[in-house]
Amino acid sequence: MIKLKSSEIAYQFARVLRAAMQAGRPAMGSRWDRASGELSGCLPALASAAPTSAVFFASVCQRFGIDPASADGGRPVVVWDDGSPVPFFSVLARLPWLQLRAVIRQSPATFAAYATTFCKREDEAALLGPEIFEPFDTEEAPAAPFDLAGFTPPDRLSSVIVLESPLAHGADVSGSNVVGFRREARFDPLTGRSVDLPFVSGNSIRGLWRDLLAYDLCALTGVAPAELDREVGNAIFAGGAIDAGATMGAVDVGVRRAVRDLSPAWALLGGVVHNELMEGRLLVSDAVLVCRESAWLVAPALGYQGDARDLAASLPPADACTVIRQATRKNHADIPQRDGGSTQMIFHTEALETGCRLAHYVGLRALAGVPSVVRSALRRAIDLSAQAGCLGAKNAAGFGLVRWGAYGGGSAVDALPSADEYLAHVAARRDDLRAWLTGALRPGAAQAADAPPPSTGGKRGKSKAAPAATQEAA
């Protein structure tokens, strides 16, 4: 097959897409008014799920109720080259699928607009010519493969997470009613190319562990979430926030020490509470799909000792690991609707396939290791997530059932003890924890005399800080 430039691929595909959409327009009715947005939203996800260009094109046409074999007045959809009709399947056969998919991801809105824009026939050559797609020729020459020999990994723990149902984790930008799977450009040092790699963000896993530890703490101390002091509740569940009126430029050592001593989970994750921004000890990496393009990265988590190229050859490509799951929302047949209208919503979710694996790493930030009870809190979080067996979005709809592998490897100082030490700490400090969670105790309040003097007057909430500090000192 002759190697085509991205702009040529984009132009040819755009022409056949336009031909199909224009042929199907009469049957769409008022849907045509929204077709551009819908098309822009569904193209990347449908491209991700399709193994070939033919399947992809068929899925796009099916979505809009177009039969490409007969949409043009009973005849197949064609494009015109020098006055001769070229059927759609001939055009698609000339276009390398992987390259076409990458081109579509560059700017689905361009293809959607091209397919649906109104244009007089005599203006087509000027307005819809191939020069529109010249910006698609942005491919970088592959860089020299990056040799990873001799690199020593930092001390960290690793795990492999196996998907027992499709996993959803929303893309940064999704269009229409198709939610794509989150991807990010990463460099594959084995090939020298940039790839869009599916991943689950480390931040989302931190959030999951924070939630689990917070709910667990509430259960262990007998405090219902609705009984939590609002500031403390926001802190343990969401990391807290710096309030207007905070006394800035000062550090209350007593509060910081007391909160960390009281809650090992807080020492682990950090956040803002009592207007003190405290850093945690936990580094949570992204969980990366185990695939051909990530072989070099996931090898340590898989315990693979050989050449990463051999591992890459044995793994599926990232693009072969996603599925599109359709869902519908319909009105209940027995419940009369207001205004007699019928409301049905169809939406699609791109998800990682059941059976895929994610490689995940965590690290602990401290030269000589963190206290044992803090590591025990991490073990508790991991145990809770393994018990819950869920990751990502839409768990209530069946997505994201996972089998969470044990975390191992790393340095001896990072070894995770059992969760018993953390649980024993919570039991021993239960009364203080209850008081803190309900707002009856502000840890470190005995050191209020050492706290920085409240600011008086001034703008933007400093006057609010003054009465709060005055009350505390009293």
Binding site: A143, A144, F146, L148, G150, F151, T152, P153, P154, R156, D172, E184, A185, R186, F187, P189, G192, S194, S201, G202, N203, G207, D211, A214, P225, A226, D229, R230, E231, G233, N234, I236, F237, A238, G239, G240, A241, D243, A250, V251, R257, D261, G270, M278, E279, G280, L282, L283, V284, S285, D286, V288, W296, Y361, G363, R365, A366, L367, A368, S411
Partner: protein, 253 residues
Amino acid sequence: MTAPSLKAALAAAAEQWAARPEAVQPVRIEAAFAAPIGGPASSPLSLEGVLQWLVLDAAASAAGYPGPFEACAAEPVDAAAEVPLPLARAVEADVAVWMVSDAEPVGAPARGAVRWVRKRADIEAVSRGATKVVINTGATKSLNMAIPATLWVGARWHALADPDRLRALLRRAGALGSQRAGGLGHVVGWRVLPGDRPDAWRLRPDGTPARRLPVAIRDDARALGAEAAVVRASAPMWLPTGRVLCALPRQGV
């Protein structure tokens, strides 16, 4: 037994982490990354801060503090002068600097990226005594933030350093840049190799500064083909005090 003071703990840390004069040699420090690094492309990727935090944190722990902020709040130290690192020091325009350059990209050119970070309050946990919970403002505001990031394949620093102690310290540096606790800046691995130019920490091959270099007057910076500004010359770079006139390395990748 009472814990030592922070200063005493830092002095003890010097025995473990300061560069041994007999071991100092030119080195190339390289890192491979698996995720974009938080921070705009114009932000220099400095190694000093990472190393300094690790040593300072260990000293704070030895002194009985939960972390560096608490320790420095209680016992202020001149971090640039008192935190020992396995790097050699030089004096430029009467200002001491660590002999380590800023990073340069390796493997492929670095380029900009964006990481979206989301945060939502747990409504039930913040609902006590409230008839409404506001999620579009205030402490419980839901956030969807775009964090500027830079996709580095690998990075290289040049230094005069004690390689063995440097390797031991780098093993504890699992991620660099902002938002590193949530996945950005993931370091795949480090390696410390013999360097080729003894002054590579100071000047790039084109003669421009490889790091912030204190200068006496702006003309000295121009002579190096560089702009000048009053900035910190050593970590912590965010500290507003201790700024001096420096010739700046070319930023942006």
